[in-house]
Each structure stands twice: as structure tokens, then as C-alpha cells.
Amino acid sequence: MSTEPKSAGCLGVAMKRKEDPRFIQGKGHYVDDISMPGMLFLSLVRSPYPHAEIKSIDISEAMQVPGVKAVITGKDLEAAGLGWLPTFHGLDKQMVLAIGKVLFQYQEVAAVFAETRAAAVDGAEAVQVDYAPLPVVADPFTAKTDEVILRPDRENKTNHIYHWEVGDKDKTATALANSPKRIKERIWFQRCHPAPLEPCGCVAHFDSMGRLQFYVTSQAPHVYRTALAIVTGIPEDKIHVVSPDLGGGFGNKVPVYPGYVCAIVGALKIGRPVKWIETRTENLTSTGFARDYHMDVEIGATADGRLTALHVATTADHGAFDAAADPTKYPAGMFGVVTGSYDFPVAHAEVDAYFTNKAPGGIAYRCSFRVTEASYAIERAMDILADELAIDPVELRRKNFVRKEQFPYPSVLGFTYDSGDYQKTLDVTLEKIGYQALLKEQVEKRARGELMGIGFSTFTEVVGAGPSKHFDILGIKMFDSAEIRIHPTGSGIVRTGTKSQGQGHETTWAQIVGEELGLDPQNIMVEEGDTDTAPYGLGTYASRSTPVAGAAIAMAARRVREKARKVAAHMLEVGEADVEWKDYKFQVKGVPAKSVTMKEVAFAAYTNMAQNEPGLEASYYYDPPNMTFPSGAYVAVVDIDRETGEVKVRRFLAVDDCGTIINPLVVEGQIHGGLTEGFAIAFMQEIQYDKEGNNLNTNFTDYLIPTSLETPAWETGKTVTPSPHHPIGAKGVGESPNVGSPAAFVNAVIDALSPLGVRHIDMPITRDKVWRAIRQAEVLTT
């Protein structure tokens, strides 16, 4: 694998990440590194009750704490018209600080501003809140009864938030009824949390011009600027949002949180900068969680395994507010991709969401909106069907794949898949893992009573939101943008509306510019996250950066190239029509020896431009014509200790098809990271609530993060099926491993336990769950 730029082009080159020297030397610049003269610190008073009336709030003792400058409550904000803020899809609102009652444990109740962080915490501890506990609704099935209405502030007095459906309900029911074979299983994708190592935080400061300077951990700085203008009434030109280096995001840093609004209000009220950095517990207990979908999956098939119908009915737990950061028209996100890689003749999917006394969220944790839930549901169900039919799950998948010649493929649930070659990807996987040898080994081990499992996941994602006719957040269409300036000496800068949180944009964006303009990507600077300088964009989440902003960069670069062509024609003393871009330089058609490089043209654009407009820059706002559909074929091999229930992931191979690869090193890193998160979700992580609404996973001793000791060694592979509508054929990959891997892990465990009659175990598959399943099976067979 080459690690240096090719003389001809930059795509597919495993350039080392330009940003890494900064990070590995501890020179990253994060929000908590910002310090300003006179800066105050904010600490939030949070509710220990999941549901309670607030009878009174006494701040007198807190105001006596040395260093405390001010305390604000929900009533103060309400009086200023700032009591509530809209959630991103615009269909609900969220209290900034609790007004009248609290709806989830750790909800924000009051804000304390003090000279030091310690004084702010002491002040928060001294705020006396008198609560009257109310009945707790700790799960969506209790919520369904409407015996306790959690949100009387809403017009409809029910805990039911929405019903969403897609597909043909009647035809699906008929097809299922007529299917020779049917399976049905409730599959729960547990509530989990992205848990970025850097929690959320901000510094708010009104400068001498009265302009809000807002430094914040945001994956979508421009959306924040607009949202803050809407919420606070501050004119948008008087708001400057800067998102510096981010220590991970994974969707957690998309929503606007109450702490941000409080910091701004405090800075305005007190006239001094305010910093708010949440603790680990605050991050895990109050910011955007993910998943929590209870999915009743039903598949119909012929006796020989041809799929006939799919029905999925989901009960979704959205917590106290509907803060799922989904596009406006897609309250259940892209869950319609639940047919996966398979050619279902008919299908129907429906989602019913409910309020509960839990933290709000439902964000897209390292996945396009709700795609992970969908992928997990279909990939688990396919294995259950294979087991029922006594068919190899690989063959069941192969038999029902959307075939290569069917692309662009209109799924029965409304998406048009752009491209794919699922058979080929699966073949590569089987070859690399040595499937036949593994099967032989498994037979031998089973004969000895050993538990070995092989689990597959052949998933398809839908990413790159999205086409403006369908996708918006707060009404803003989900385009993205790029602005490129080429300097006289042939270096340049590219700015986009996205914001890297570790994806390597500083490298890959430079490579796209380098590829399109024949320039050295080492000398293309990438700048993101500053709303004063970057063009407007919707940010980085849901695998949209490369499909949308990456396309905008390519298109902006092509505009630069067109402008450069005019200068090149002048330099080559020919008409513009006689100049062609070939082999990464301009040359006279038919006379390759007569050529100029982009670097030479760049200098001329500032020194010898003739009648052409000086300078060499362009911008592009890209509205994607379709989503992109990355896919993959993953396989896990596990061994289970029969006595202890311990699962050992012996091998895991991920073969991804993310279209054109910009930088294989970055892709490899993304896959390793996503697989590690998928591994954690499959085996370790769950945000649990007890029936009284207590959050039981409030720190990293209870919400586990895998270290190198637990993490398996990953094997990877690739196939390349470019997207036909993306300018460079790229599809995005950052989220594929998190989307595709949980099902492979679980399928492998269930495959290992299948001789004992185990059909399904919900994640996380902890040692004790496996142990109990084995013991229970032994009891049943003796």
C-alpha cells in the first residue's frame, strides 16, 4: 500500500493523516482549552427524580457560596421567552431548565455561575429544590397505556408521539399469511450511548461589539448558529459559532443542549464569558442516547428459502422529549432500509414512538438515522429464518440478494439503491475467512460438545442525507458546501460546512482537491467549524460528509479547473476549446508536450491573467440527487466457554464496499473504530433504567468502553462498486462497521448456542446472559 501521493492523482492513496501529528503530540485545541479573562464557570443543578413536581427552588444558600455570581431557573428563562428550545426536526420542544416539573433523572433544573468550577459545583449543591415525586413511566409499553400523561404541555394528551409507516400493509399481511414458512421474533436494540471521550461543552462570550462568540462541541456549527438565532432572537450575523477540535462525536454532538443556552444567557446577563463543560455522568445521563427500538420482525418465505414478505412493527422509546435528530419528514429516520440487501417482493414497516421518563435523544450514533436498528433487525431475522428452514444462512442470503443487474434498485419501501455487488462482496468474505474450513472445524467441535459459532451480516446502509426534496433539519435543506481558494504558489485552502470529529477530513478533503486539480494535498489546508469563514453546511453525522460535502469539494474543484482553463489557454496561446485537462495538467489537444501545470496556472491567475478575472477560487453547494448505499459482508467467529459463558471473538472479518476509496488508511481506521464500537454494543453496553427511572449506567465503571485488552484483532477487505451519481463515486464508510457488525457478533453467538436450542439473546450479550442460556438449555434437555 503506497503511503505517498501518486505523481498522477491522489485518490486511493494511503496518505498518513495530516491532523495526527497535532493530536498525538497533545496539541489539539478543544473547547476546554479555551480560557478568557474574567471567565465564569457554569454548573447545572440536575434532578435526582425521574418524574416530579417542582414545588419550590431556593437559591438563597447557593448565592452565599463564595464565588457564586448568579443562579437562574426555568422560571427566569420562561420569563425571558427562553424556557423551551425546539428539537432539531422541529416536531417537539425541550425544556432548557425544568419548568413546573421534571421529566427525567438528571434533567437540568437550575444554572449556577461562579468564579471557579469548584465554586459553581458547590453552588449547585447548595440550591434547594423541593420535589413532589410523581408516578414514573420507565418503558414504552407502560407509556402506551396513557395512565400517566407525561407531557400535558402538548396538544394531544397522550404519551404516543407519532405513528410512521411505509410499504403496503395489506399486501404484506396477505403475503405473510400465504407464506409456507414464517418466523417472528421481538428483537430489541438496547438503549446505548455514543460516549465520546470529550464530553459536550462550550464557552459563550459577548465581545466588545456585542457579538456572541460561541465556542462549542458541535458536529453542525452552522445549524447551531441558525438554531441559536431562532431560540434567542439574537440576529444571526451577531452570532459566531466555532467548533474547534472535537474528541469524538458519533452523533452525540448534533443536538443543541440546555447547557449551551444557559451559558449564553449567563454570559449576557452577567456580562462575562461563561464556560460549561459537562461531566462524564452528565454526558451519559442527559445527552443524546441512541437506539432503544423494540422491533417485532416477521418474515415469510417459501420452503426452499425464497423471501416472500417482511413486516416490522417497532415500539420506540424516545424519552422525555422527542429530541431524535432526524430529518423533518423522517421521524423514524431511514428505517425503511430494513429490507436490507434482500429482494423482498413486498414489505411493510411501522414505528410507534412514546414518551417515557428517560433522557431524550434517539440520535444517529455512528449511523445514518435509525439504519443500525434496521440493519440489525433484518440480519438477525435472516439467521432465525435460516435456522427454521435448516438452510445455511450464507445460502439464504445469497439466494435473496438484490442482484447486480437490478441496480439502480427500487426497494419496496421507497429507496432507490444506487449500486452494489453483494454476491461479489460475500464471495470475497467467504474466501478470505476460509468458510468451508471453519464449517468443518465447527462440526468437529460440536461433536466434542464445544461451542463454536460463525455469524454473518450482509448489510446495506443508506447514507448521505440528503436530496433537498426530501431532507431538512429545522426546514434547512440538507445540502452541503465547499469553498476552494488556490494561492499563487499552488497551495490552497478548502473550507466546508462539515466538521471532522476524527474522520480525517484534513487529509481526505485535501486529497479530493489534489485529485481534481493535480496539486499536492500536503499543501491543501482544510478548515472547518468556523461559521464566519466556512460556507453554510449541515455538518458531519449520518455518514453524510463524503457523500455530500465530498461531492461539493469535487464540484467546487471542477469550477476552479474551469476558471484555470481560461488562464491556461492564455498561457498556452491557444483558444480555450483547444485546451484539455489530461494527466493532471492542461495541455493543447493533440500536442501533449505543450502543457502547463495547475501550479503554473495558479501563479498566472494572480500575475498573468490577461483579460480573465484575477484569482483562482470557487464554491459549490451540492444538493445530492440520491442517497448512497454502502454495503458489506461481515463474519464473526466465536468460541464460547460452556462453563463460564465467556464469549471469545476469535476472528472478525469486515469486507466493505464503500464505492471509490479516497484514502485506504483512513477507511481502515474508520472500520477499526466502528467495529470496536459495534463490539462494545454487542457485548458490553446498555443504558439501563430500573423501574423507578434510575439511570444505572452513569459512568465508565458501569457503561463499559472496550480497551485494547478486550478488542479483537480486526481483519478487513474491500470491493469497490462506485456510486453512479456521486462525482467521484464515493459512498461513505465511517458508520458501516457500527451498522453491520452487531448482527454478525450476535449471529455468531446464537450459531454457537443453536445446538442447545437457543434462538435469540438480546444485546448486550454479557457473560451472565450466555451462562444462563446454557444452563437453561441444560435443564430443558435433562
Binding site: 435526582p48 427524580y49 438528571y106 423507578e692 434510575n694 439511570n695 444505572l696 452513569t698 465503571t701
Partner: protein, 150 residues
């Protein structure tokens, strides 16, 4: 997290002496384990600050205690609520004052508590045993104080 406890103490004094003790808010307040400060509000209300340590969760709880004596002088109920460091606890405790007939008194007590917040989450694995120990210690303190008085 719902917790329930019960037990009894034999106290070597008469029921009248026990009754006078358990209806005195200052005395009751000082029987709380790890108590730091007691402030009597009125004959049936007392506020107490206690040191709490459940697993890695440590800090001060500010508790409001309401004494609810039975007019027949046979039972005392206590309603305790409060919290600290982001946690909350709501408890009810009651004790029957039973004349043992030999000049001693049996205090039959029971209680239940609901804990919320970090004390319930982080301390969850050890909370039950710790709370049992504390409530047992509280009624043990009643016995000890009264025994010393004889």
C-alpha cells in the same frame, strides 16, 4: 431503587421512657448514624445533616425528618426525605413500642426507602447492605442511648 428493612431492639427501660425518647426530635436526630448536625424546627420536625458513603459515592445528605407519633403512644412513624450530591432519598420508618412486661420495651421497627440518583446508580451494588446497616445502627443507637441513661 426500593429498599425494605425490619428488625427489633429490646431496651432495658419502660415504654414511657422509650416513648419520651423517640418523640423527642433532637434525640431522634442524634441517633442517625454519621450525623454531623441536628436542627430542631418544632416538636415534630427536625433537620439533620449526615455523612453518607455508599461505595465510591460519598458526601453529605441534608434530611428533613417528620415525627408522626400515634396518639395512643404505641407507635411512632417517621417520614424522612432529602438528599445531596445529586441524589435523593425518601424513607418511611415506623416502630411499635411494645411493653415486654418485665420493665423492658421491645421496639419493633420496619422501614422502606427509595433512593435515586448516583447513590442508587453507582452505589447500587452495595446500597442494600449499606442501608440495612445504617437503619439497624439508627435503632441500635436508640437502644444504646436509653441503656446508658439507666
Amino acid at each position: 431503587m426500593n429498599l425494605q428493612y425490619s428488625g427489633e431492639e429490646r431496651i432495658p427501660v419502660s415504654p414511657d421512657v422509650v416513648w419520651a425518647f423517640v418523640t423527642d426530635p433532637d434525640k431522634v436526630g442524634h441517633c442517625m448514624p454519621e450525623v454531623i448536625d441536628v436542627t430542631v424546627q418544632d416538636p415534630t420536625h427536625v433537620e439533620a445533616v449526615v455523612q453518607v458513603a455508599v461505595g465510591p459515592v460519598r458526601g453529605k445528605f441534608k434530611l428533613k425528618v417528620e415525627l408522626q407519633p400515634d396518639p395512643a403512644r404505641r407507635r411512632i412513624d417517621l417520614k424522612i426525605s432529602g438528599g445531596g450530591f445529586g441524589s435523593a432519598v425518601d424513607m418511611t420508618a415506623g416502630a411499635d413500642v411494645v411493653d415486654a412486661g418485665d420493665g423492658t420495651t421491645i421496639l419493633k421497627w420496619s422501614g422502606q426507602a427509595v433512593a435515586r440518583g448516583p447513590v442508587a446508580a453507582v452505589g447500587g451494588r452495595v446500597l442494600d447492605a449499606q442501608a440495612q446497616k445504617l437503619i439497624t445502627q439508627a435503632f441500635g443507637n436508640v437502644r444504646q442511648q436509653l441503656s446508658l441513661a439507666t
